[in-house]
C-alpha cells in the first residue's frame, strides 16, 4: 500500500560492499516507506542475498562506501543484535542448525530482548508459552518443534516456518525475507504468504527477495526491483515481475550493458 | 581399472624386480667411523663446508639413540656391519649415455625405465641412481633452456655449491633425528632440482633409485627448490633385489617453496619387502619434509607405499608462508610380515594456511599398518584449516591397522577436522561384483583400487596406472 507521505523506514544510498576481496554490491539505492511491500528479484549472484545480509550486519561483508538509515539512525554502525532489537528482521535463505540449543529457549530470549528494547515487559516462561502457541497457529507449525534444537533436523519447509514464527514473535518494523519461498511446496508457500500478509501493517514494511513470481501471486508487491551485478537495474510495479516471468532475465544483460556504457 | 591385465599375470609374479645386476662395484670397508665420513667426502671431492657438515652430523649421531617409539620391533641394526659407500666401477659421470656401462642401461631397461635416447619417455626427465651413485640424467640440456637444474646432488655440490650451502640441511637439520643425522653424515647421492623464479618446469622430473648390493646401506639425499612463482612435479620410484638380509635405507628429502611456488612430490615405493615368512627386505627409514617458506606456496606429497619390510616415514609440511598449502595423499599397502608406520605432520605456522590429509591403509596377511600423523596449529595460524581423512581396510583376520592422529591447537580461529574409519571389504559389494561375472580376486582388487581412488587421482598419469597394477600384484594370494 503506497502512501506518499508515510514514514521513511529504510533508506539505502549508494551502498558498496565486498566479501574478502570480491566486490558484490556496487552502488545500491533503495527507499522503503511504512506500509510498503517490495520485491527484489534477480538471478543467482546478482547480490540480492548479500544486500539482505549486509542489512542484518553479517560479519563476512565489508562496507566500502554508502549508507543505510533505519528510521533515521545509522544502521551500519549498529551490532547485529541491536538492529534486530530495533526492528530489522532477516528471514534467512538457509537458516543454520544449532544443535543443543533449545528452540523454545532461543525464541524466548530473542523475543524478550526485542520487548525490552521497545519498553515492554519481559515474558516469563508461562506467558511466553501462551504467546508462542498463539503464533504457532499462524504458521501452522507443530508445537513439537519447540522442544527440539534450533532448526536441527528440520525439513526445508519447517525451517522456513520457524523463520516466519520468529518474525511473528519479534514483530519487526522492516522484514527482509531472503528466498523464503524457495524449496516450499504450495501449502507451505501459502502458510508463509499468509504469515507475511497478516504481519504487514500500515507502520511496517516487507522486502521479499525472490527468484520467482509464485510468492508474488500470493503477496502483491507495491514495488518490484531487479538486481544485477550488485545494483538495482530497474524498478517497477507488479507488472514488472510478471514480465520477468514471461521473458526471463535475458534482457537484463542488454540493459546492464547499456547502463555500463552510459 | 586394469581390465586388460588378466588375473593369470597377477598370480605369476611376486616381485619382478628382484634380480641382481652382475657388475663390478667399488665398495669401501664395512663400518662407520670419522675416517669413513672423510673418505666418502673425499671420494666425492667435496668442498670443505660439506665435509664439516657431515662431520658435525656424525658427531651428533654418535650421541643419539635409535628411536623405538613407533613400536616397530625390528632386530637391532649393527651399524658397523653396513657398507656406507658402494658404486659401480668407472663411475665418473659420462659425457654421454653411450659411455655408460651397457649393463646398467640394461638394468634400467628391465625396470621399465629406459634411459637411452631412442627409448626414453618423451615427457619425463629421469635421474637414475644405482646403489649410491647417479649414473645418468636425461633431458638435462632441454631443461637448462628454461633455467631448470636437474642433476645428481653430487654434481650439484661441484657445480652449484652456493645453492647447496644455502639450502642443504635447512629443512631437515643435521640433528633432526637419528636416521637424518646418519644420512647427513654419510649421504651418497640423490637428486637436486632447482626451478628458478617464474618457471613452470616443462616436464615431469623423476628419480629412479635402484639398490643392487646386498650389504650396502642406502643414504640418498634429495633437495628440491622452487623459487618465487616456480612449479615442478617430481616423481620417485624405487626397487631392490631380493636378499635374505635386511638392507637399511635412510634417505632425506628436503623441499623448499618460496612465494607462490609449488612442488608436487610423488613416490611409488616398491623396495623388496622380504619373503612370505618375513625374511629379508628393506628397512625404509626416511625423513621427508617440505617447507612452504613463501606466501601462497604449496607442497603436495603423494605416495604409494607397497614395499619394504619396515617403512617408517612421515612426509611433512611446515606451512610458514601466509596462505600456504600442504597436502598429503597416501596409500600404504602391507602384506605378509610387512610393517608400515607412516603418516604426515602438518605444522601450521602462518595465518590462513591450509592442509589436507588423505591416507588409505590396507593391511593383509600378518602385516601391520599404522597411520601416525600430527596436525599442529601454532599461535599465529589465524584462520588456518586442516582436513584429515584416514581410512583403513583390513584383509584377513591377522592383519593390524592402527591409527594415531595427534592433534594440537593453540589458535582458536583455526579449524581442524579429522575423520577416520576402519572396515573390511563388504561382502555385499563383493557379491554384487561377482554376480556380474567378475572373478573374486579381481573383484577384491577393484574394491581396493576404488578405496584408494582419491589418492591415485593425485598421482601423475603414468604412475596411477602403475600403482593400480602394483596393488593387484601385492595383494595376490592374500584374500580368500
Amino acid at each position: 500500500m503506497i502512501k506518499q507521505d508515510s514514514d521513511l523506514l529504510l533508506e539505502i544510498s549508494d551502498l558498496h560492499a565486498r566479501v574478502e576481496d570480491q566486490p558484490i554490491l556496487k552502488g545500491v539505492n533503495l527507499t522503503i516507506r511504512a506500509g510498503e511491500i517490495h520485491a527484489v528479484m534477480g538471478r543467482n549472484g546478482s547480490g540480492k542475498s548479500t544486500l539482505s545480509k549486509v542489512i542484518a550486519g553479517h560479519p563476512a561483508y565489508t562496507i566500502t562506501s554508502g549508507t543505510v538509515r533505519f528510521e533515521g539512525k545509522d544502521l551500519l554502525s549498529m551490532e547485529p543484535e541491536e538492529r534486530a532489537r530495533s526492528g530489522v528482521f532477516l528471514g534467512f535463505q538457509y537458516p543454520v542448525e544449532i544443535p543443543g540449543v533449545s528452540n523454545l529457549e532461543f525464541l524466548r530470549v530473542a523475543t524478550n530482548s526485542r520487548r525490552v528494547e521497545i519498553g515492554e515487559e519481559e515474558l516469563d516462561t508461562f506467558e511466553f508459552e501462551d504467546l508462542v502457541k498463539e503464533r504457532l497457529h499462524m504458521v501452522q507449525m507443530n508445537p513439537a518443534f519447540l522442544d527440539r534444537s534450533v532448526n536441527e533436523g528440520f525439513s526445508g519447509g519447517e525451517k522456513k516456518r520457524n523463520e516466519i514464527l520468529q518474525m511473528a514473535l519479534l514483530e519487526p518494523t522492516v522484514s527482509i525475507l531472503d528466498e523464503t519461498d524457495s524449496g516450499l511446496d504450495i501449502d507451505a508457500l501459502r502458510v508463509v504468504a499468509n504469515g507475511v500478509k497478516k504481519l504487514a501493517k500500515a507502520n511496517t514494511a516487507t522486502v521479499l527477495i525472490t527468484h520467482y513470481q509464485r510468492l508474488l501471486n500470493e503477496v502483491t508487491p507495491d514495488f518490484v526491483h531487479v538486481m544485477d551485478a550488485g545494483r538495482i537495474l530497474r524498478t517497477g510495479n507488479k507488472e514488472l515481475a510478471i514480465e520477468l516471468e514471461q521473458t526471463g532475465y535475458d534482457w537484463v544483460d542488454k540493459a546492464s550493458k547499456k547502463k555500463v556504457e552510459n | 581399472m586394469n581390465s586388460q591385465n588378466p588375473a593369470g599375470e597377477i598370480v605369476s609374479k611376486p616381485y619382478k624386480y628382484g634380480f641382481v645386476t652382475d657388475i663390478e662395484t667399488e665398495k669401501i670397508e664395512k663400518g662407520l667411523t670419522e675416517e669413513v665420513v672423510r673418505l666418502i667426502s673425499n671420494k666425492k671431492q667435496e668442498p670443505e663446508f660439506l665435509l664439516n657438515y657431515r662431520l658435525k652430523a656424525y658427531k651428533q649421531w654418535l650421541k643419539m639413540k635409535e628411536p623405538d617409539w613407533a613400536g616397530l620391533g625390528y632386530p637391532n641394526i649393527d651399524y658397523q656391519d653396513i657398507i656406507y659407500y658402494a658404486a659401480p666401477k668407472n663411475n665418473q659421470k659420462k659425457a654421454s649415455l653411450e659411455e655408460v656401462d651397457p649393463k646398467l642401461l640394461e638394468t634400467f631397461d628391465k625396470l621399465g625405465i629406459p634411459l637411452s635416447e631412442q627409448k626414453r619417455l618423451s615427457n619425463v626427465a629421469v635421474d637414475a641412481v644405482f646403489d649410491s651413485v647417479s649414473i645418468a640424467t636425461t633431458f638435462k640440456e632441454k631443461l637448462a633452456e628454461d633455467g631448470v637444474i636437474f642433476c645428481s646432488i653430487g654434481e650439484a655440490v661441484k657445480e652449484y655449491p652456493d645453492l647447496i650451502e644455502k639450502y642443504l640441511g635447512t629443512v631437515v637439520p643435521h640433528n633432526d633425528n637419528f636416521f637424518a643425522a646418519l644420512n647427513s653424515a654419510v649421504f651418497s647421492d640423490g637428486s637436486f632440482v632447482f626451478v628458478p623464479k617464474g618457471v613452470d618446469c616443462p616436464m615431469e622430473l623423476s628419480s629412479y633409485f635402484r639398490i643392487n648390493s646386498g650389504d650396502t646401506g642406502q643414504f640418498e639425499r634429495t633437495l628440491i627448490i622452487a623459487e618465487e612463482g616456480a612449479s615442478v612435479s617430481y616423481l620417485e620410484g624405487c626397487t631392490a633385489p631380493m636378499f635374505d638380509t635386511n638392507t637399511l635405507h635412510a634417505a632425506v628429502v628436503e623441499l623448499v617453496t618460496l612465494d607462490n611456488a609449488s612442488i608436487k612430490y610423488s613416490t611409488v615405493q616398491n623396495w623388496y619387502s622380504g619373503n612370505e615368512d618375513g625374511i629379508g627386505g628393506i628397512y625404509n627409514f626416511v625423513t621427508k619434509r617440505g617447507q612452504c617458506r613463501g606466501k601462497r606456496s604449496k607442497i603436495s606429497w603423494s605416495q604409494v607405499e607397497t614395499g619394504s619390510a619396515i617403512t617408517w616415514k612421515y612426509p611433512s609440511c611446515i606451512l610458514q608462508g601466509e596462505e600456504s598449502i600442504g597436502e598429503f595423499y597416501s596409500v600404504a599397502l602391507t602384506n605378509n610380515h610387512q610393517k608400515a608406520d607412516t603418516g604426515t605432520k602438518m605444522i601450521h605456522i602462518g595465518p590462513k594456511t591450509k592442509s589436507t590429509i588423505v591416507s588409505k591403509g590396507i593391511s593383509a596377511g600378518k602385516s601391520s599398518n599404522s597411520y601416525r600423523g600430527l596436525v599442529q596449529m601454532g599461535p599465529k595460524a589465524i584462520g588456518a584449516r586442516n582436513y584429515s581423512q584416514c581410512d583403513s581396510m583390513l584383509i584377513g583376520d591377522q592383519a593390524a591397522a592402527n591409527t594415531y592422529p595427534y592433534i594440537r591447537s593453540q589458535q582458536p580461529q583455526a579449524n581442524i577436522e579429522h575423520e577416520a574409519s576402519t572396515s573390511r571389504i563388504s561382502e555385499e559389494q563383493l557379491f554384487y561384483l561377482q554376480s556380474r561375472g567378475i572373478g573374486f580376486e579381481e573383484a577384491v582388487s577393484m574394491m581396493v583400487s576404488g578405496f584408494c581412488r582419491d589418492v591415485f587421482n593425485q598421482l601423475p598419469l603414468e604412475f596411477a596406472a602403475e600403482a593400480d597394477k602394483l596393488m593387484a600384484l601385492k595383494l595376490e594370494g592374500s584374500v580368500g
Partner: protein, 414 residues
Amino acid sequence: MAIERQWLSSLPLPNGALEAVQRRGRELLRSSSMPQNSQEEWRVTDINQLNNLLALPLSYAINKPLNTNTNRWPNEPVNGLRIVLDPHESSINNLGLPKGISMLSALELEQNLGHTLEQCSCKGDWPVAINHASANQVLALKIQGRDLPPIELVIKSTPDSFNPTRVLLILEEKARIDLLQVILGENNSAESHIVEIHLGQEAEINHGFLALGDNQSRLLSHLAIEQEPRSHYSFTSIQHGWSLGRIEPHIVQVHGQAKTTLKGLQVSSDKQQLATHSYVRFNGPDGQLDQLQKAAAEGESHCIFNGAVDVPRIAQKTNAAQLSRNLLLSKRARIDTKPELKIIADDVTCTHGATVTQLQAEELFYLRSRGIGPNQATSLLFRGYCQDIIETLPVEANRWDCLNNLMSTLPNDV
C-alpha cells in the same frame, strides 16, 4: 624422583584392611619411576603439578584436619541414597543400605578387590599405584536386582591434603542401578580415586561422574570396568575446575557382546590442565562402543584427550564409534587430542573423528540477528554444546547444578 621417595617415606606404616595392597603399591612405586613427558601417556602433562600433589600431607594422617565446606552440597536426594565417603574414616559402617545393596563381606572383598584392575591391565599405572600405596579404606558394594534407589556417592575431601579413596562395585547378573559420583575439590586438596566396577551378564549401570574442582585442587582418578556379555556400561563424566585433572576410564568387555557408552565433557579455564585418557578393549566379538568426548578450553588452560580403542583378532563384528569435539575459546588455551585405534579383527566397523574449532560464527550471527547479544548468544551456544553430555547424567545430577557451574567460567570476550 626424590619427591616420590619423600612421599613414600612420609606415609604411615601399612595397616588396616588394605595393608597388603599398600605394601604392594609402595613396592611398585619404589621400583619404578615417576611419570615423564617421554612416556606416551604423560606426553603433555605438567609433571610439576604431579610433584605438587605429592607434597601434600595424607588426609587421614593429619590430626586436626580443616573442615570440608559442605555448603555446596544440595539436600539429600528424596528418592535416592546418599553415601558419603570420608577418607578420614578408617572403616565404613552403618550405611543403612536398602534391600538389594549390601556391603561385601571380608571374604568377598578379598576375592574381588583388584580383580577388575587386573583384567583391565591397570595395576602398573602410576595413578593406581599411588592410590594403592596410600588408601586405607574401600567402599565395596554388591548390587542385586533392579528397581533400586539411585545412589549418590559423595567423596568428602579435606582441604590442604591428599585424599585417597577407593570404590568397588559388583553388579550381579541382571542388576541395574544409577550411580552418581561427586568429587568436589576443596581448597588445595588432591584427590586420588579408584573405582572398580564389575558388571555381571545383562547388568546395567548409568554411572555419572561429576568432578568439580575449585581451581586450587587436583584430581587423579582411575576407573577399571569389567563387562560381562550383554551388560551395558554407561559413563558420563563432567570435569571442570581442577588445576590438574585426570580421569582414566579403562573398560574391558571380557567376552565382547556388551555395550559401552562413554560421554565426557571437560571445561578448563585459567591455567588448568584437564585430561581424559580412555581405554576400551574388546576381548570378544559383537561388542559396541559409542564414545563422545567434548572439551572446551579457555583462559590459558589446556585440555587433553587420548582415546585408545583396542580390537584384537577375537573381537570380530565389533562396532565402535568415537568422536572428540573440542572448542578452543581463547588465544592462550591449548587443545591436544589423540584418538588411538589398534585393530586386528577384519570384520569390524570402527570410526573415529576429531574436530577443534571455536564457536561457529554462523550460529553466533544467527542468534545475534534475532536480537540476542554476543555474551548471551555465546552462553546459549556453549550451553547447547554441553547439553548432550549433561543430559545423560543420572537425574540427581541436576541438583548439583553443574551446568550453571560450568557456565560461570565462560569468558566474556569470546
